[in-house]
Amino acid sequence: VTRSAWWRRFLARGVFWRQLLRFAVLNVPPWTEPIVIAFWSGFFMVWGSGRRGVTSNLKVIKPGSYAIVNLFRCYRVFWNYAWTISDNVRFKELRKIPDWEFRGWQHFQEMQAAHGAILLTAHMGSYDLGAQLFSETSSRRVVMVRAPEIDPQTQEFEEHHGVDGVQIELNTRATELAFDLLEAVREGAIVAIQGDRVTGSISSLPMTLFGKTTSVPAGPFALAMAAHVPIYPVFVVRLGRRRYRLMTTRPIELTRSRNRDDDFARAVALWAQELERVIRECWYQWFTFDPYWPEQAS
């Protein structure tokens, strides 16, 4: 390990923080946990780029709000994030699950009963925990698509400390992955994809969110069209300490017409509508630490 590689572990997305979180889950008494999380949420406010990313996104979600108010809101985002990732690691390490409430139970059951479906979600609440819950309760195979960690050591750590039951596919090998996912959906699997953020060079579709133009991954929509399966928007929202709500909304059906772009645009607009509604309601747990809208990033 070179000297620079060793130091990289302490960067915001470095492996040290994952190791520290695991250590905390295995050592912190639950009755001091709120104090520890409050402290570390404050500590992470020092992370400049993350703080600026969250506050700049909040400016769009809550237009006209004061910078100082958004700073407190940013703390609330970090606080929720800390609880969420702790719950996730607690499940992986100690098999302790939080309480779950379901909204849109009918749609959730439809998804479980359907022969193949796309589960489209966002970087909200604990999507990892949600996927693990599926694997515990569903007879269907769950394939989770996610972006790889930036830091190779962190990626290695995550692979080593994963749980059984959920098949994780990284979106780095786009072409082969598309065929693999198509086959999995046709075999009846549920493919879970985060559809609120485009990472790397994956293909995208334009979307309007909070009145501003942005883009979403094209993959889930193309897959739904190719496999003739519905897209179920699912959101995992943290309600409180070790308590989550799983919200499943009406499925988005992609019907193919002569104009493929229009078909995609219709589906993306429905997705944007759901996403915007949930983010507006639960802005404090939309875990997007980079400026989301391109004009802000520039």
Partner: protein, 179 residues
């Protein structure tokens, strides 16, 4: 590994098994025994049976521990009281983690990687008892906080004794709820 969960029973929130401290377990038993089913029910509900599951209990204990620690520090800092309280808030935030970081690290070296929550929990409470014993004997205003700490510990002990006497009733009430 089997997950211990209850499906679609909102009243199972009050299972004493979902609480850690005797005082809370007793309060939960009373609530479970005499509460009516809630009018608003979620469409589907999964409740985990784990002793550290209840938010009100854990947040309540955390707030009490933190305030107690802040008072102990504030009483002994050589500044004016408002400044002492501000400094004590920071110090208490760090002090609460002292048994965790070196303690957890040492446990890892001695007994290996794994779940050390129970040992760290007992150690932290032990250190707090020692600190409270000391503060209770001083003449500072913080001695009242220490006395209050011991009062809670004693009440919790009494609740534990009552729960032990009621153990069969508690078990029956829990079984009725999850059946």
């Amino acid at each position: 590994v089997t997950l211990r969960v209850v499906h679609d029973r909102p009243e199972a929130r009050w299972l004493p098994s979902r609480h850690r401290f005797a005082l809370w377990r007793l309060a939960a038993y009373i609530r479970l025994r005499w509460s009516r089913p809630p009018l608003e029910r979620p469409e589907h509900l999964i409740l985990s049976i784990d002793r550290d599951q209840t938010a009100a209990e854990m947040h309540g204990i955390a707030a009490w521990i933190f305030v107690t620690t802040v008072c102990y520090f504030a009483a002994f800092l050589p500044f004016a009281l408002p400044l002492s309280i501000l400094a004590a808030i920071v110090l208490a935030g760090i002090a609460v983690q002292i048994p965790i970081v070196p303690g957890g690290g040492m446990l890892r070296l001695l007994i290996g990687d794994g779940d050390h929550v129970k040992i760290v929990s007992v150690t932290t409470m032990g250190l707090l008892l020692i600190a409270s014993s000391y503060v209770a004997t001083t003449t500072t205003w913080a001695r009242f906080v220490a006395w209050f700490f011991f009062a809670i510990v004693i009440i919790n002990g009494v609740a534990a004794a009552i729960l032990w006497l009621l153990r069969d009733f508690v078990r029956d009430a829990e079984e009725r709820c999850v059946r």
